[in-house]
């Protein structure tokens, strides 16, 4: 647990010292959301209907930039070898990096929600806590496989193309469940479906975090 917290602290320090990158990431999230809104045009009903989808597509696009960057710094000048010699266990490193990515995705999500509400004329019909829990589980569901894949691809020349190609198909269930839950929070949930979608999100998180945690050691060794 201490290893996880140490890696998390290290990443937090790096991100704090390079705050401009985080600001750029948030700016990218805002730009993507605005582009979705521009693409649909002034149809307020359509914007409201699909507000949840725009939020999560924005998060997904941001995740590829974020994941590539946070893992690349570990592989520059073979820093990861020195980190592992400290010694840091591979599972500890995975959970630390994945948690760090999760926190940054939560940040992107929390920054995007107000813009979605304003631009798409959306409102929070259901409890705001449900939306926060959706962002928490959705962000974590993107971060775990994303951390594994970005480590796998960090040394390859085609990583910027391969990362979304590998990540997007895998996280479709997470995105579908997160979009559905967010839409239910924004549009109302008369059929009380939120709990079942949230359960699906939770299940995929359990699968991804455990599976990727087990496999990460082999990836780092390679």
């Amino acid at each position: 647990m201490k290893t996880v917290l140490d890696v998390l602290w290290k990443d937090a320090l790096i991100e704090w010292r390079a705050r401009a990158r985080t600001v750029a990431l948030l700016s990218f999230a805002y730009t993507v959301l605005l582009l979705f809104a521009f693409a649909i045009g002034p149809d307020a009903a359509a914007l409201r209907q699909h507000a949840g989808a725009y939020l999560w597509l924005g998060m997904l696009l941001c995740s590829t930039l974020l994941l590539d960057r946070t893992m690349r710094i570990e592989f520059e000048a073979d820093a990861i070898q020195r980190l592992l010699l400290t010694p840091v266990s591979a599972p500890g490193l995975f959970f630390g990096k994945a948690l760090s990515n999760t926190l940054q995705l939560w940040l992107v999500g929390l920054f995007s929600v107000p813009l979605v509400i304003v631009v798409c004329d959306a409102s929070l019909v259901e409890h705001v806590g449900t939306l926060l829990l959706t962002i928490a589980l959705g962000g974590a569901g993107l971060a775990a496989p994303g951390t594994l894949y970005s480590a796998m691809l960090a040394r390859l020349s085609g990583r910027q193309l391969l990362l979304p190609l590998m990540l997007f198909p895998l996280v479709v269930p997470v995105i579908v469940a997160a979009v559905k839950t967010t839409s239910l929070v924004m549009l109302g949930d008369p059929m009380e479906q939120t709990d079942s979608w949230m359960l699906l999100l939770l299940c995929f998180n359990l699968v991804y975090w455990s599976l990727c945690g087990v496999l990460f050691g082999r990836v780092v060794e390679a």
Binding site: M152, L162, M166, P169, L170, R218
Partner: protein, 231 residues
């Protein structure tokens, strides 16, 4: 002439498929709701079953490759992913051909169809990843990991008709299907299984030979010393 056992198995599979399709087209009764269009089930359902089974083989081979590091398992990953991908694409084509007269469109964003299409990308990327890596040991590890993670899609595809509201048929059982339809379906399923087994084994031999050649290839000679100008 030395004919390997997988050729016999493939030939038997092909004969079984021909027989089953003859029975499915000319002997079995038309499907109660869809009529003659429903006869595609003798090709579509075996393709789906065997396709998912081939991905299961890829998953097991991926685990085997990670645990042992042996080229045989790695070759099996490549072979089974390739054949699984072929069957998966065939499945989508068959489904589209069936969907046009039944649903009025070749493609609709139905959960079963969408998850199946996603599965093509997930396993296709494994092959793309293999092509990107020259070092055999790294390729073994990374493609095995990618295969194991991509396998998460398989239960999602299988359960998609249960988890989401879908236009696609739900699970059937022999109890709900006429016996005159079950028999050709079973023969077609085993025929497809034998044919796919033959493909996988042939591809595995080829892949293993390529991997062994890579391991045995001599190292490149040291570069010659740079020219030096004598004082």
């Amino acid at each position: 002439m030395n004919i390997r056992w997988e050729s016999w198995v493939g030939g038997l599979g092909l004969l079984m498929l021909i027989g089953a399709h003859y029975a499915g087209l000319f002997v079995a009764p038309p499907e109660a709701m869809m009529g003659d269009v429903g006869r595609i089930l003798y090709a579509h359902v075996p393709t789906a079953w065997v396709g998912l089974l081939t991905y299961l083989v890829a998953f097991i081979a991926g685990v085997g490759a990670l645990l042992t590091g042996k080229a045989g398992w790695d070759a099996m990953v490549e072979a089974s992913v390739e054949v699984g991908l072929l069957l998966n694409v065939l499945l989508l084509v068959q489904g589209s051909l069936w969907a046009k007269p039944t649903w009025g469109v070749y493609w609709t964003w139905d959960p079963r169809l969408t998850t199946c299409a996603i599965m093509v990308v997930a396993f296709g990327v494994v092959l793309a990843l293999r092509k990107q890596i020259d070092d055999p040991a790294r390729r073994l590890t990374l493609s095995s990991v990618a295969t194991i993670v991509a396998f998460v899609n398989v239960p999602i595809v299988y359960m998609s008709v249960k988890w989401w509201r879908t236009l696609h048929q739900n699970f059937s059982s022999p109890d709900t299907v006429s016996s005159s339809m079950v028999t050709p379906l079973r023969i077609a399923a085993f025929g497809m299984l034998f044919l796919a087994t033959s493909f996988v084994v042939r591809r595995w031999r080829l892949s293993l030979a390529q991997l062994n050649a890579e391991f045995e290839a001599p190292d490149l000679p040291e570069p010659s010393a740079p020219l030096r100008v004598e004082d």
